[in-house]
């Protein structure tokens, strides 16, 4: 259900996506589908130990195997700069990235890459891995974030001293950094509270679970050009990473992004491009490196496991007076967890005058975390919403009513020192309150099957950043669109729609394409829910330039001044130029037909750096049925409400809401990394790490609100990430409603549920 704005003819409609045809016939080329002549197959040798010193690496026996073309190790990479840069939605330090490409003197997690082999066949490459001799000195691993913070914990990086604004710590530890937000006087605030709730929470590490593994094919030309085909969210980010780690000029590296079989933040950082490039250089052949599913789990960038503590107090009138939050997030083997973003999102929906939040970024012997759809927010929101729910219950207030009494408003100062602008937290909560799902009767049950309903309020801040779109007018009146953004969700269509709307042409007139780093303008990675928004801004800018230039061409045809030419892009005469000097008209296509004679090619360029953008509030309503004998949870009904600013292509928006919710449902009920005592991951496969199937989720209902972000030409806000943030919270609150026991652990597996009830 969406409200439609009357004057748009393209925006808000439901055309098929431009990439649908190639994908339903199986012709779309994804990362692992790239095949080049003489191509060799690459595989990576990985540490069997979670924490060890590397005493010796000897590739001699592997190099001697018939069919092996090259072996690569850290010795094949130059020293990397100790410099940190933003890549996609997080920061990376290149020294650490080099160490995570081929281990130096230590391995820091089960699966840590050590060396790579290129061979004539995949089987020979796999055999060769076993012939690389590595001698390890085992060290004790630490896998639990709180244990890692203890003074006597084994240290991953002996030189790591906690950095914070309180100064740098004297003694080394696994706490890479910490920060604090403080607002008002929390002690005073708690003193004013009539009810106080304090709970601790733990969440397991989870993976984005994209079906397509990481894959890159590298090929060197005789002139020294390196071409890397890869599945990535950011071709220009990969180019920078390859440049930094190989020490090779940017202009001689071409990154060609393929279609992407799911990314969700996990394909901003590259893992196989540099090994492929080194192997290709050493072997003199193109080399393709594709991760196995096990490698994806062990050695890409999952999302942080956490330990969190939340304390909140409220008056009996239902006003929250204080909050205190501790967020301890696993960074994995190198610093860089999304604890800061988690801190920005927890409680973002509430007006809390006194609060303190302490956040810790902690290294543990697990893979270095990557961005996963609203990185950090799902974890912290699970904790925050559970305490909000418990406060409501103790005050005897309806959960939605309690939230509305404390809901964030425009201009409200935020815990991170900023303030909210043009937000829709109230509207989202009111939509929940008025939704048929929230008001449907639900039999709680008294037997083995107990039912419950829960809600969760979610927030994600989104992103702007740099995008580039080129529009070229063709002689037949169609427009070719080239964008620098990688399309991971359908954005080539939603951006083409914005160009079409601005030009006053139908969508059929626009033919969108993704470029590569040589052909398209610099664009930041597609992530952070920025692409339809920021690349849309670029497309609108390019379209406006096209219109301006077409004015000049029309003037040349009419032999008048450009100021005497007018163009209509709306209404029944959309796509028409008129001349005030002679009252004649020409269509866009008629002017286009004469481009050759009036000055040649006509292009509009939009290169933008969007510095301000709107966040997105959303909410979920979950009905669950819990079997109190087995602990199993079934979802009976699930609703996602979200403010999207403006739904350019509603079908795509609904898809994001359902898809993100389904990932959140997996995070809440099924998914989590399991380890043995020595730090080996136990469930690095799709059988034991369970993604939701079609049987595990109901037909998820969606409600789209359109409270616009006024600084975007069409009011667009980022959509893609908020959907994953609320589901674990809504489900946990529903489980409580069903069985009367609060859940403090994700995933809420049957065993955990039974444990919480004291049954096992």
């Amino acid at each position: 259900m969406i409200t439609k704005t009357a004057e748009h003819t393209v925006i808000g409609t439901r055309p098929p996506r431009a990439d649908a045809f190639e994908k339903v016939v199986g012709k779309a080329v994804f990362g692992p589908d790239v095949n080049l002549p003489r191509m060799a197959y690459g595989r990576i040798l990985r540490s069997p130990h979670a924490h060890a010193r590397i005493v010796r690496i000897d590739p001699t026996r592997a190099e001697a195997l018939d069919g092996v073309y090259a072996v690569a190790t850290a010795a094949d990479l130059p020293e990397a700069a100790d410099r940190t840069e933003r890549v996609g939605e997080g920061n990376v330090n290149y020294k650490y990235m080099r160490d995570n490409t081929f281990a130096g003197d230590k391995v820091l997690y089960h699966g840590h890459p050590i060396a790579a082999v290129a061979a004539r066949t995949l089987q020979i490459a796999e055999q060769a891995l076993e012939l690389i001799d590595v001698e390890y000195e085992l060290l004790d691993p630490v896998l639990d974030v709180r244990q890692a913070m203890a003074a006597d914990a084994p240290l991953l990086h002996e030189g790591m001293h906690t950095r914070s604004l309180a100064g740098t710590a004297d003694t080394p530890s696994n706490v890479a950094s910490q920060f604090q937000f403080l607002q008002g006087d929390p002690e005073q605030g708690f003193a004013q509270a009539d009810v106080v709730v304090e709970r601790a929470f733990e969440t397991a590490m989870v993976h984005q679970g994209y079906i397509e593994p990481h894959a890159a094919t590298a090929a060197w030309d005789a002139d020294g050009t390196l071409t890397v085909y890869t599945t990535t969210q950011g071709a220009f980010d990969i180019r920078s990473q390859v440049h930094e780690l190989l020490g090779y000029p940017l202009s001689k590296i071409i990154v060609v992004p393929t279609e992407v079989g799911g990314a969700f933040g996990g394909k901003n950082v590259g893992y196989v491009e540099v090994p492929a490039a080194v192997l290709a250089r050493k072997s003199g052949r193109p080399v393709r490196v594709v991760m196995t599913r096990e490698e994806v789990f062990l050695a890409s960038g999952p999302s942080s496991g956490t330990w969190m503590r939340v304390k909140m107090g409220a008056t009996r009138e239902g006003r929250i007076t204080a909050a205190e939050v501790e967020l301890c997030y696993e960074a994995g083997a190198y610093p860089g967890s999304p604890v800061g973003a988690g801190a920005n999102c927890i409680l973002a929906g509430y007006d809390i005058p006194n609060a303190r939040l302490d956040g810790y970024d902690v290294v543990v012997n697990k893979p270095r975390v990557g961005a996963y759809r609203a990185p950090g927010a799902t974890q912290s929101t699970f904790a925050g919403e559970a305490v909000i729910d418990e406060l409501a219950e103790k005050l005897g207030l309806d959960p939605v009513e309690f939230r509305l009494r404390n809901i964030a408003t425009n201009g409200m100062p935020r815990l991170n020192g900023g303030f909210h602008e043009h937000i829709a937290a109230r509207e989202v909560m009111e939509a929940v309150r008025d939704h048929p799902h929230y008001n449907a009767p639900l039999e709680r049950g008294t037997g083995i099957l107990r039912r419950g309903r829960g809600v969760g309020l979610a927030y994600w801040g989104n992103w702007g950043a740099r995008s580039s779109v080129t529009l070229e007018v063709n002689a037949d009146g169609t427009v070719s669109m080239l964008m620098g953004s990688v399309d991971i969700t359908g954005t080539r269509t939603s951006i083409a729609m914005q160009a079409a709307e601005t030009l006053g042409l139908s969508l059929a007139h626009i033919n969108p394409a993704m470029g590569n780093t040589q052909t398209s303008g610099y664009s930041d990675a597609s992530g952070g829910s920025r692409t339809t928004m920021a690349t849309g801004v670029a497309a609108v800018k390019a379209a406006e330039e096209v219109i301006a230039k077409m004015h000049e061409r029309a003037a040349a045809i009419w032999v008048c001044e450009p100021e005497q030419v007018a163009y209509t892009n709306i209404g029944p005469d959309a796509g028409t130029f008129t001349c005030s000097r002679n009252d004649e008209t020409m269509t866009f296509a008629e002017v286009a037909a004469k481009l050759g004679g009036t000055g040649g090619a006509l292009r509009g360029q939009g290169d933008v750096n969007v510095r301000r953008w709107g966040g997105a509030f959303g909410a979920n309503i979950a009905d669950v049925e819990v079997d109190i004998e087995t602990g199993s949870v079934r979802l009976l009904r699930f609703t996602a409400v979200q403010n999207v600013g403006k739904a350019i292509r509603p079908g795509q928006v609904e898809g994001q809401l359902r898809g993100g919710a389904t990932q959140g449902i997996g995070w809440g009920l099924y998914e989590g990394y399991a380890y043995d005592g020595q730090g080996h991951m136990l469930n690095a496969n799709f059988l034991d790490y369970k993604l939701p199937t079609a049987l595990d989720v109901p037909a998820i209902e969606t409600e789209i609100l359109e409270i616009p972000w006024p600084e975007h030409p069409f009011g667009v806000r980022g959509v893609g990430e908020t959907p994953i943030v609320g589901p674990p919270a809504a489900i946990a609150n529903a489980v409580y409603d069903a069985i009367g026991v609060r859940q403090g652990f994700l995933p809420m597996t049957p065993a955990r549920i039974l444990e919480s009830m004291g049954i096992i």
């Binding site: 309180a166 800061g340 988690g342 303190r356």
Partner: protein, 87 residues
């Protein structure tokens, strides 16, 4: 004088003050001014001569991509936040 929000972990340097005023045409100059009056203030925010990459500077509620070189007005508000994705 630009107004600088003092992160809570740095209020030991400013006698508990939650915001202080500093003069300068850029963020760097303001920090230089503050360092003179509150020794250690700038050092906490820098790695070498650059802003700690774990931080971003926000001037008048806009993220400032030029960081320390960002020009500030006499009534600008300057904040230092953890560098985060989204949020």
């Amino acid at each position: 004088m630009a107004n600088v929000s003092v992160p809570s972990l740095m209020r030991d340097l400013t006698g508990g003050e939650a915001s202080v005023d500093g003069s300068g045409a850029t963020v760097a100059e303001v920090l230089h001014d503050l360092e003179a009056r509150y020794p250690g203030f700038a050092q906490r925010l820098l790695v070498g001569d650059d802003l700690d990459p774990a931080l971003v500077v926000v001037v008048d509620d806009r993220p400032a991509p030029l960081g320390l070189s960002t020009r500030v007005r006499v009534d600008s508000r300057i904040r230092f936040l953890p560098a985060v994705g989204g949020g």
